[in-house]
Symmetry: C3
Subunit: 471 residues, 3 copies
């Protein structure tokens, strides 16, 4: 039997379970706000049928491919092309069989939870996937995907998505977003997000090329630091004009520093020449993160920071298969000292919003909740990546709430590439928040009416407020 208990994730004791169920039911059907994620806007623009279950559930989901890879199944079998061309890419049906035959690997995992939920609720599947039923399930799902009800726009409406933010290259012309917005047959709100990592971290592959293209857009000389900064400001403005509400930043450590223009120019020049030391590259990146905050205080884009991930740990896999192939690994993260220059400069600026996403859960109670409990600009990012999972989410709530209450959180962020997982993820978040609040009620720490108001806030009000979606 595929797990899909209607009371799933609620506390198991008889005192708090009914409270959790009642709280959950009051928000279960509220619209979905998705202010940060990685769905390709082309999906909704083109509105074509998803090709098959392997493309949909395996190939692009590195949460899923990871565990199959750990079990010894080559990434090529899962449909991921080997860029060296040395090994042929597997067939979708083989990737799907690999998933079904190894279904038990996902027992107890967040991916297993989401996939079960999607299979059961969206496809009406009742049997646990396995080697024997893999082909039948492949055919069954493929058939369903071919129907109009499974087209992206139909699902968008069925899921009840109110807003969906994508993540975009700063030089993207956002034509897809414009087309979607202009399309009278599609009423959903799909907004871009400015993601400048590759333009502000001089260690990125082809950073100089990006700087050059940015200069070409803004009409300045590529070697002109002033033009570089103005180019970024210009592109942010372009994003704002096209509906963006936030700028997202991925860094190893959230280092920030305020440099004078002379030093910044000198580091910029060295970076273009390729003569920047590692320490100076980190210094320049820290300067640029500081500048991004400064720009946010000027153009109003919410600043989100995702820190603490060592990207592409396996050099060989990165070389053969590229990024986002399952070996980004979290590391211990510090927020307090690294963010101090930024917060001393901008932490009190009115209407500046800075959302901190951590994948080092030790920082929730120690650093992030205390920072968000003082600085009006700082919000606690929802549990991210490996921590977006039932037990981890409850640990997160327990870690931050006693210090910062419920008003300092970002609201839930699904952060997903997997379009079909969006309702499963938001539903999981709502169940867990209901479970957490129900415990506080049962422990005499919160009235049930207050808990109800807070849950509605968490689902609806807070993400709109933090991401400035209600303007």
């Amino acid at each position: 039997m595929l797990q899909n208990d209607p009371d799933r994730l609620f506390p198991v004791d008889q005192a708090s379970r009914p409270i959790a169920r009642e709280l959950y039911e009051s928000v279960a059907k509220l619209p979905i706000i998705s202010p940060h994620g990685h769905v390709d806007p082309r999906l909704l623009h083109d509105d074509e049928a998803f090709p098959n279950p392997a493309e949909l559930f395996v190939r692009y989901d590195h949460y899923v491919t990871r565990l199959l890879h750990a079990a010894g199944i080559p990434l090529t079998t899962l449909g991921i092309p080997d860029t060296s061309g040395a090994v042929p890419t597997g067939e979708p049906r083989d990737a799907w069989r690999a998933l079904c035959s190894n279904w038990r690997l996902y027992a107890g995992t967040a991916s297993g939870y989401w996939l079960s939920n999607i299979f059961a609720e969206q496809f009406g599947i009742t049997e646990e996937p396995n080697a024997s039923n893999a082909d039948a399930l492949f055919d069954r799902i493929s058939e369903q995907l071919a129907t109009p009800a499974f087209r992206p726009r139909a699902l968008f409406a069925q899921f009840g998505i109110d807003v969906l933010a994508t993540t975009d290259d700063p030089l993207d012309d956002l034509a897809i977003h414009d087309a979607l917005a202009a399309d009278p047959t599609f009423s959903g709100r799909v907004i871009p997000t400015f993601r400048p990592d590759a333009y502000i971290n001089p260690r990125t592959t082809d950073w100089a090329g990006r700087v050059e293209r940015l200069a070409a857009w803004s009409g300045s000389a590529p070697s002109d630091y002033r033009g570089y900064i103005e180019g970024l400001e210009g592109r942010r403005h372009y994003f704002v004009e096209h509906g963006a509400v936030s700028a997202d930043h991925g860094v190893l450590q959230p280092l920030t520093v305020e440099l004078d223009t002379a030093e910044a120019e000198s580091l910029f020049a060295a970076a273009l020449r390729g003569t920047l030391s590692d320490a100076d590259a980190a210094r320049f990146e820290a300067h640029m993160l500081f500048q991004m905050a400064r720009m946010s205080t000027e153009d109003g884009l919410v600043m989100t920071v995702h820190a603490g991930v060592h990207r592409n740990h396996s050099a060989d896999t990165f070389h053969r298969f590229g990024p986002d192939t399952g070996h980004d690994i979290p590391v211990a993260t510090q927020w307090v000292e690294p963010l101090r220059p930024l917060l001393n400069a901008f932490g009190m600026v009115e209407d500046f919003h800075l959302v901190l996403f951590s994948v080092d859960e030790t920082t929730y109670s120690r650093e992030i909740a205390p920072l968000a409990g003082f600085y009006p600009s700082v919000y606690i990012g929802a549990p991210w990546w490996f921590l977006d999972a039932p037990d981890a989410v409850l640990r997160f709530r327990a870690a931050v709430t006693e210090t910062a209450g419920f008003s300092r959180g970002s609201g839930f962020i699904d952060d997903t590439r997997a379009f079909l997982s969006i309702p499963a993820r938001h539903d999981m978040s709502r169940r867990l928040d209901a479970a957490f609040l129900a415990r506080l009620v049962a422990e005499g720490r919160l009235g049930v009416d207050v808990a109800h108001d807070i849950l509605v806030d968490l689902v609806s009000t807070q993400p709109k407020k933090v991401f400035k979606l209600d303007r």
Copy 2:
């Protein structure tokens, strides 16, 4: 309704809740031992009525002002004076209105729990504070505060406080303590605590001035390192003679080092000249922490160390409003290597007591419990600051008990400036210890009679033993 469930904080399952209730009831009314805190002894000396609820519950409680500040309310509105004089300080009634109008910010927080408990139990308030009832509550509480029953000494007796330790400047003449002790109309025990941070950390504002005043007291030359050390010894002795049982130390990291006298003298001289490098300042402070331990082995003062807080994170707020204004933020802390010199020198000295307070909860199971589980001198400080909250306390107990049992803890420390919160805090601690023990009983890990004995120990015996109050 204001929350004040008689079963609050007990486990919610039906097996352990009755056990917790029964355990709690056996200690609920035991006298309060408060061996570390920040109540001003003048409060009890002068025994004047508290002026109004804003002064009492908002103005001085940076746990409370933090979340209001994060919600965008200026500290001046909360009654905190802007030392630049640029903005007038708000009226008490406005500060109180800010609290009541934003009461929901505290849902689920430790401060919200304490305030609810105080309002309900001490003032008989049954309605949740809000914008509409703020003025009525202000008047009601103000009236009660004007009655004799709400004078500090009456509350001291009503709370059942057995011992209350204050925190004092090393050069304080302790006249207030002497007067209290000599007062035949007051029978409470109020003892000073030696807190020398500003005298031993050469980076402190006006360190040289303090060294000079210390020298003036002891009659040595300010530049005489030997006189500086003897001056500190002399002041500790003075505190011992006036009833102190402990010396408290706040440090960023608990670094210790044993320096020879020549190097110590040279660093001391450089510190007075203001030519000490950052690294050498840290080295001198580490040397002085080592010296404080040495002195404790000689004069018997219990050594308490509070580490791991980045003080005054917001430079602007510190500049305008001074310290303790809500932006002290914890950082990752190490204890094992930094304390090794100190513990190798003094860890086995008979009757030396060293209590370690951490606000980095990762160190509870990893470092502090293992250290306290071997060194006879080391005790595990109760959860401190942001961690003095229901879920955090249960995490603390779960983290340390399996390694160190119950005998290596400090007993509960309220560490508060908020006099009225003392019974609420001790009550919370007793409920949580009862809850933790009840779980162990229900899980078959502890007999209920043993659990009862342990709980009495935790409340009464252990803090007296660790802080040498039973002598």
Copy 3:
């Protein structure tokens, strides 16, 4: 009453407790697989009666002696000889009295749990040890120990041990293992483990002497780096031929580096001359850990790494009483960057198994589970040392499962010197895994039949697979 509840460690709520009980009962009697531990093989070879309860439960168990030492009882009283000879070693009966008189120190600890379980189940004791019954218990246990049923081999059979791995010096001739294997009257499988720390860490006492003895065995010159490497390869081969399946490595931080032969030779020569800097010693050790992985890919020995313990924190105790006397203290550990060179070289090598044991629990969710969730070679070591305790084990399961599922763990490892504690420890692990799985079932996250299959895997299949015992 001595605690021995048949439902101990199961969840206390009425929904999950019966599920846990049923799951547990299905594996309670399965054979014990013990692929890593510290039992002396002589014990089984000689098969002599244990002398007395103090030798058995106090003297050699630094989990137990720690808390008595913290309570002020000298190690000599506990039967540990002072190598300086300054203080006479206490009598066994005194050590036993110390334990019984201080029994309450162990309330809530893992040691207290194991000892209670052993006393109750193996010796039929029903009363809690205390000062009054200490002598009677000593006599009673001593009598039982003198009976044939309490001989090591009889217990080995009674415990249902399938495989027991010991930990051995690389130059051990393994004659005891051979004799045991050849003994027709003993059918147990007792296998050695290669533990080369003292041969590959040049900071170890007498490292040069060990290198010399290794060279003598292999017939090379002691100063010959090539011979040193080949000698280690030869000894590993010798261990493989004598039944070893794994090589175990204890390091402070799991640093690895790939050096070219010239640099390795130069560091080796400096190490022999005693002129290696601390940094270079760490570099050489990191190189040797890398080499150990390389050898594992060639000879098939499973590589286990135990990292993050500051050994012998108290210099004085180490000097007087030697290692393993209760003051090894965990420190913050990093795995992601330090292991990268090793994993980039060998992480994908077929049939390479690398098991990571951490005593810094923050690394479970942050680093180890994500690494094991991608690299086919990496397995998550069971909670180790201070973390092998009921609450810590449940925290471990909650931390790793959502990221890595159940298939990436090592299975339970008792890691003990205390032979009689083996069944208590494995039983505790089975109960806790049953408890964890029961919660997932009750929360609707796992079917009960799947939970049952997983539990059998955890107890039987997984340790055999990870430690290559099924070949």
